[in-house]
């Protein structure tokens, strides 16, 4: 069986489980809605102030919902000891990591699209021409978040204080991703295009590659415990 087919079957399983239970998706949609209400109350109608903080707020929304989603990645494997069964399946375990990562990306992109739509509605943001640039930045940033998030979620899945440990491990590692995405989002939302922030995009792409490679190379050890 090919590596890609093993990754695909894990993705298929995670998508089916989430599509049926909708446990994480429903919680994240509700959470995003609450978050936007809080932002709206905190910032008020001052459009000038809003322009400066919007990129940060957008990524704060992505990060907080991402932490909730990623932290749950391996909880489904604890039910009925499915974790053991994944371990017992012969073959390269990094295919399981890539399948899980792909499942997280699907979920996070859905929630991020919802958050962007809420920003447009709540803050009257005119995306228009900025949308392709913004989509590229969001895609690169989300891969960076999910790559390490999936790995740390596996690492902390069987730890008693996982809800505490997971963000404590993940957030310091994500500093370069968050810096780069906020800067690039600022440029995209200002309608300046991404030409002036290529160095940030380079950093983002490099972080993505490094994080995914680290995940692929270390997942076997993490799963084996």
């Amino acid at each position: 069986m090919t590596f890609a087919r093993r990754a695909w079957i894990v993705l298929w399983k995670d998508v089916m489980v989430e599509a049926r239970s909708k446990e994480t998706l429903n919680a994240l949609v509700f959470f995003a809605l609450l978050l936007l209400f809080v932002f709206q109350f905190a910032l008020g109608p001052d459009r000038e102030r809003l322009g400066g903080v919007l990129p940060g707020l957008l990524w704060l929304g992505f990060l907080l919902s991402g932490l909730l989603a990623l932290g749950r990645t391996f909880l489904v494997e604890r039910e009925n000891d499915c974790w053991e069964a994944l371990l017992l399946a012969p073959g390269d375990k990094s295919a399981i990591y890539l399948g899980k990562l792909a499942g997280n990306l699907v979920l996070m992109f859905l929630v991020e699209a919802f958050i962007v739509a809420l920003f447009v509605v709540f803050f009257d943001v005119a995306l228009g021409a900025a949308l392709p640039s913004l989509a590229l930045v969001i895609a690169l940033g989300t891969v960076g978040l999910a790559a390490m998030g999936t790995l740390f979620s596996a690492m902390t899945a069987n730890v008693r204080a996982r809800e505490l440990l997971f963000p404590v491990l993940l957030l310091p590692v994500e500093v370069p991703v968050l810096l780069a995405t906020v800067r690039a989002t600022e440029a995209a939302l200002a309608g300046e295009g991404l030409g002036g922030v290529t160095h940030w995009l380079g950093l983002l792409a490099a972080a993505d590659v490094i994080y995914v490679v680290v995940g692929v190379l270390t997942f076997d050890f993490v799963l084996e415990g």
């Binding site: 093993r6 399983k13 489980v17 049926r20 489904v76 000891d81 499915c82």
Partner: protein
């Protein structure tokens, strides 16, 4: 001619902290043979099965399955064993058919839709194929868990309380299946507390007490009350 040695456990020791769970266990299981591990709770039956399944590393000693060392060649051992443990290894929000499809694909077993359906029929779950496992009873989950091994024929079955939660019909099916599995050259190691049905398929019984094999004897000719007497004798004599 001697049957192939499929499981060899020699001087196996496992320590969790200060707790010595296995203390020099030695056991051989040949092709076509089933060994029932008996013993009180905490005797080390599940730990021994988990070491053979490569889920736990021994502290000392050797465990070899199908000619492969459980520590150094865990991947080859995993390809050779089928494990039925306390957890059903099933996803509650997938249907019975989807669960089978997932596990066969992950194990690289090429199966057609008809084969999957006939495996479900063999465990009397064909009418529940499209139902989510969340709605299944414990017995149905156990049968679905066992159906995986009809599709992926392992050489060695490691079963932890395989008859738990099964009704009379399912127990009969499992007994028949295990007899057939042995006849085809497979080896079975099962931990059980069930002296009645659980021992029907066993060729040998091994009583674990105080982390050691206190008695390893053929089952043939031993009536259930005789097994019960031996069990009491050896487990109560253990320190």
């Amino acid at each position: 001619m001697t049957a192939e040695l499929l499981v060899r456990v020699s001087e196996l020791r496992k320590v969790f902290g200060a707790n010595v769970v296995l203390d020099g266990v030695t056991l051989d299981v040949h092709a076509g043979e089933a060994v029932a591990l008996l013993g009180p709770n905490g005797a080390g039956k599940t730990t021994l099965l988990r070491i053979l399944a490569t889920l736990v590393r021994p502290t000392r000693g050797a465990a070899v399955v199908g000619g492969h060392d459980c520590v150094r060649d865990a991947e080859a051992v995993r390809a050779a064993v089928g494990v039925v443990a306390h957890g059903a290894h099933l996803y509650e929000d997938l249907t019975a058919l989807e669960n089978l499809k997932f596990w066969t694909a992950l194990h690289g077993v090429p199966v057609s839709a008809e084969t999957l359906t006939s495996a479900l029929a063999a465990v009397d779950l064909d009418r529940s194929a499209a139902e989510r496992v969340r709605r299944f009873s414990a017995g149905m989950k156990r049968r679905l868990s066992l159906a995986r091994f009809l599709l992926r024929r392992p050489r060695v079955l490691l079963l932890d309380e395989p008859f738990a939660s099964l009704d009379q019909q399912a127990r009969k099916w499992l007994e028949n299946h295990l007899q057939e599995f042995k006849a085809l050259g497979g080896a079975v190691v099962m931990a059980t507390h069930n002296f009645d049905r659980g021992l029907v398929v066993a060729d040998r019984i091994a009583i674990l007490a105080a982390g050691r094999v206190a008695l390893d004897t053929p089952r043939a000719g031993l009536a259930p009350d005789e097994i019960q007497r031996l069990y009491t004798l050896y487990t109560e004599a253990a320190p």
